[in-house]
């Protein structure tokens, strides 16, 4: 039987309609720039005529106003299945898929519309390769044996270059330790070492962190450092690999050239690439998706993940308004109550989960001493901190991550070190974290309020909380009260009311 070849039937506002048998990846180019790649069966939906529609991804839709020469072709090959001028919207002007700074964007391997390497100048790539080399050297000096991993290893081994559709660099190491406790401790230590050497870092799991590398035009490129370990003949490499593997396939490391620079790679890189990308790793696939076995995902989730749930959501939300003050000028009812308590006790207010700092600013402007805490403080509270400096307010911004014991214990110890009563304001933070975060909060209150004070907290309760984008798990007010009592609360009162159609609780606790 003859296999029907791939044909592109049409390209319009809905997406790209294809027909043919078999599944394969194709690239989509606008005016010679790759913007997207998809698999012709996996990423498409059937229509009534037996054809398949690849709908435009949502982030791309907002750019579809104007005209572009649209090409659909085999990845990295001149063979095209479609090549025509297509108009979208009113068709005026050329379509440019760029960010606010005019930097060209494309979909990377994680399905994000970002400045991929193929849209970058040669100088930016050289800078990133050089930064990767510096991070590798820093990790080696800290005592591990790092090597290129994931897409960066694939690019180095297959093409001697960074992959055009990639947008970050990945560095891995396989620890000498064999249990997750020591692997996490080692990762904590490595992050500190890199911090001491002047690298900007942020952690997203117990065995992985990110190093930020700024490029010339303000694009900040992430360089991920993934920890791994061998145990019982299995290699666990954060965050996708959990397979039977030989130690000798990793160590001793060998080298490979990336963009002309000598880089460390595993002893048998092809073995690692095969377990990462499958036996077809030598064929380019810009639309590759990991199909990590649930056993591996479960193990990584349990061992290392959950350190900052939903933080990406908040970072994304706050990133849009980093330099803008919060629009809300009026305080929340909880903030008013916290202000009254602070006045009565002559105590500072600790605003936990301060968000963009509307309540903190209001309290500070009324003369209260305030510390605004958030786990996304850097982005969320940047504008509030700047306003506080300008207005000479007694408002300090500090990071606090309720789901990370290190953060809870460290900040708790700092507060416990200076005496005096305090007022804690927790406005919709207990319903924005998980059980671990609520336990962390109670533990932190025990330290912050050990010399007396008041907690004023508000949170939604009931099934409908789940409808909120930022909700993680429902608060059980009785369980929470129990935790707070164990943490030293002497009296607790609950008031139930409705806010925005949702049942809400105000909890006031005295220490």
């Amino acid at each position: 039987m003859q296999v029907r070849p791939l044909r592109v039937r049409s390209v319009d506002e809905r997406g790209i309609v294809v027909s043919g048998q078999g599944d394969r990846a194709v690239d989509v180019l606008f005016d010679d720039r790759r913007v997207w790649s998809f698999w012709v069966r996996r990423d498409t939906e059937p229509d009534r005529l037996g054809r398949r529609l690849a709908p435009w991804p949502t982030p791309l839709r907002r750019f579809l106003d104007g005209t572009a020469r649209v090409v659909v072709r085999e990845p990295g090959s001149p063979v095209s299945h479609f090549d025509e001028e297509i108009s979208f919207g009113d068709g005026r002007g050329r379509i440019r898929v760029v960010n606010g700074r005019g930097v060209e964007l494309g979909f990377d391997k994680s399905g994000k519309l970002v400045p991929t390497f193929e849209t970058r100048e040669r100088g930016d790539i050289v800078a990133l390769v050089s930064a990767t080399r510096s991070v590798l050297d820093a990790l080696a000096s800290a005592g591990v044996r790092p090597f290129l991993g994931y897409g960066t290893l694939l690019g180095a081994v297959r093409e001697g270059a960074v992959l055009g559709h990639d947008s970050d660099a990945d560095v891995c190491y396989v620890s000498d330790h064999e249990n997750p406790v020591d692997v996490a401790r080692e990762s904590f230590r490595l992050q500190r070492e890199l911090g001491r050497l002047g690298f900007e870092t942020s952690r997203y799991s117990g065995a992985a962190f990110r190093v930020d590398v700024a490029e010339g035009d303000g694009v900040v490129r992430g360089l991920d450092v993934f920890g791994g370990f061998l145990s019982g003949g299995r290699l666990y490499l954060m965050g996708e690999i959990g397979v039977e593997f030989e130690r000798t396939w990793i160590h001793p490391l060998t080298t490979c050239r990336l963009e002309g620079v000598e880089m460390p790679v595993p002893a048998r890189p092809e073995k690692l690439l095969e377990v990462t990308y499958g036996p077809g790793w030598q064929t380019p696939d810009p639309a590759f998706q990991f199909s990590t076995p649930s056993r591996t995902t479960r193990a990584f989730n349990d061992w290392f993940r959950g350190l900052s749930p939903n933080s990406r959501l908040w970072q994304r939300r706050y990133a849009r308004h980093v330099h803008q003050l919060p629009r809300r000028r009026r305080p929340s009812e909880a903030a008013r109550r916290a202000g009254q308590e602070a006045h009565r006790l002559g105590a500072p207010v600790l605003d936990v989960g301060a968000g963009r700092g509307a309540d903190s600013l209001w309290l500070a402007r009324r003369g209260h001493q305030v510390i605004a805490y958030d786990y996304a403080a850097e982005k969320g509270l940047a504008a509030a901190a700047a306003a506080a400096r300008e207005e000479r307010l007694a408002l300090e911004v500090r990071p606090l991550n309720l789901t990370d014991w290190r953060s809870v214990l460290c900040e708790g110890a700092r507060l416990a070190h200076s005496p005096g009563p305090r007022v804690v304001l927790a406005q919709h933070v207990l319903d924005a974290t998980d059980t671990q975060g609520r336990r962390g909060f109670a533990r932190w209150c025990a330290m912050a309020l050990r010399e007396g004070g008041t907690l004023v907290a508000e949170f939604h309760v009931g099934d409908r909380t789940e409808e909120l984008e930022w909700s993680i798990s429902e608060v059980d007010p009785h369980q929470l009260a129990e935790s707070l009592t164990e943490s030293g609360a002497r009296s607790i009162t609950h008031t139930e009311f409705e806010r925005a159609g949702r049942p809400t609780v105000r909890l006031v606790a005295e220490w």
Partner: protein, 75 residues
């Protein structure tokens, strides 16, 4: 076709045994997950002890504050 009582009971027993087995696997997964989660908590506590306890034991106020700030910044 007639199905005798013994066969019927066998089917019921098999279904019940399979349901019990599924429940046991699910319980084991939950228990294992709970135990595995202690790894990260233990690592966090060990890290706090290592980085903060020693400076705090020195009772030198400046060193304590410095250690806390340095540790906080490294998170």
């Amino acid at each position: 076709m007639t199905v005798n009582v013994k066969d019927k009971l066998n089917v019921v027993a098999r279904v019940r045994s399979r349901a019990q087995l599924e429940q046991r696997v699910s319980d084991l997964e939950a228990d294992m997950s709970e135990m595995r989660r202690h790894n990260l908590r233990l690592a966090e506590i060990a890290d706090v002890v290592q980085e903060l306890l020693i400076p705090m034991a020195s009772r030198d106020e400046a060193k304590v504050q410095e250690a806390i700030e340095r540790f906080n910044k490294s998170l």
